[in-house]
């Protein structure tokens, strides 16, 4: 009988914890397990059999699918937990090596000088494309060096980054920007997906628990 009740609860918990991260699922299992035990004890006082008490306790929990939807809105899913673990990989990949940082800075400085020279000479097309490249490098790798450690600064930074991204696109494809806009949408959707996940993590985690890369 106890096995039957455990199976029913396990089945409910499996459905309620779908897509949740390992830590979140463990927490749900613990808190619902405690709750179920208390509900079963109370139900046992009035129920005719232990099976009936198990059934009452399980019914009181409600639909596992509804609970799962609500849990996914407030707790980290496995995809979000993975993103949180990975962090700002693009910046870390370069900045964790001293030579990588200097290489990027060197390339950016050379690109900036090169684009300025080309623009002065009158080669607007190549100059603006090179400037777009330099801005791209700055956009992805300079964030770690900036003093962004409050939600407001983070929001400003993300707004500026979006504006810069659009400016890079315009610079790179001018004067045929609109014609190539399909390529921009095709390239940007993974970034949009990641940003959407980061937004969900920001909503779910208290600010005190935000790692540095979540501000960016």
């Amino acid at each position: 009988m106890a096995t039957l009740a455990t199976n029913s609860l396990d089945s409910w918990l499996s459905r309620a914890t779908r897509h949740l991260s390992r830590d979140a699922a463990a927490q749900v299992r613990r808190e619902i397990g405690e709750h179920y035990e208390s509900a079963r004890e109370t139900a046992a006082l009035t129920a005719a059999t232990a099976e009936e008490a198990d059934r009452i306790a399980l019914v009181a929990l409600g639909d596992a699918k509804v609970a799962n939807c609500q849990y996914c809105r407030v707790m980290l899913t496995s995809a979000e937990a993975k993103l949180l673990r990975q962090g700002n990989w693009e910046a870390r990949a370069v900045c964790s090596y001293g030579w990588g940082r200097w290489l990027v800075l060197g390339v950016a400085a050379a690109g900036l000088l090169g684009s300025a020279g080309l623009l002065i000479k009158g080669d607007g097309y190549l100059g603006s494309a090179m400037l777009a490249g330099v801005m791209s490098i700055g956009l992805f790798f300079a964030a770690k060096a900036l003093p962004i450690y409050t939600p407001v600064r983070g929001r400003i930074f993300r707004g500026v980054r979006l504006a810069l991204l659009l400016a890079i696109w315009v610079l790179a494809f001018a004067p045929h920007t609109l014609q190539w806009s399909w390529l921009m949408f095709a390239c940007l959707w993974p970034l949009v997906l990641i940003e959407q996940r980061r937004g969900a993590i920001r909503r779910k985690l208290p600010i005190a628990q935000w790692p540095r890369h979540l501000y960016l």
Partner: protein, 103 residues
């Protein structure tokens, strides 16, 4: 009775007297409403986590009768949010009563 959207304020109200664990919070809401507000208990914890994320409640681990428990308590911000929600609810209730009339 459907209490969609009102569960957070009911949880905060249930925690005003003393910190408590999820099961007793659920029972307290049901008892105080004399069984009228009967919600599915599986939805209580997502609401508690949301309140915790918003800083309106805090939680600590404890033990009751040898069983591990998570105790929730209302914060200062929670008290302020509850006072605001209570005032809004009274205003809404008065307005609906004015339209529907006293029973």
């Amino acid at each position: 009775m459907n209490l969609k959207g009102t569960l957070p304020i009911l949880i905060l109200e249930a925690l005003v007297e003393e910190p408590d664990h999820g099961y007793r919070i659920a029972q307290r809401i049901k008892e105080r409403s004399e069984g009228v507000l009967n919600f599915k208990e599986g939805t209580l914890y997502p609401a508690l986590h949301k309140l915790e994320n918003e800083g309106l409640v805090t939680s600590i681990d404890g033990v009751e009768k040898g069983r591990p428990r998570r105790y929730y308590s209302i914060t200062e911000a929670g008290h302020a949010a509850l006072a605001k929600e209570r005032a809004e609810w009274r205003q809404l209730s008065r307005a609906v009563t004015m339209i529907l009339g006293e029973a």
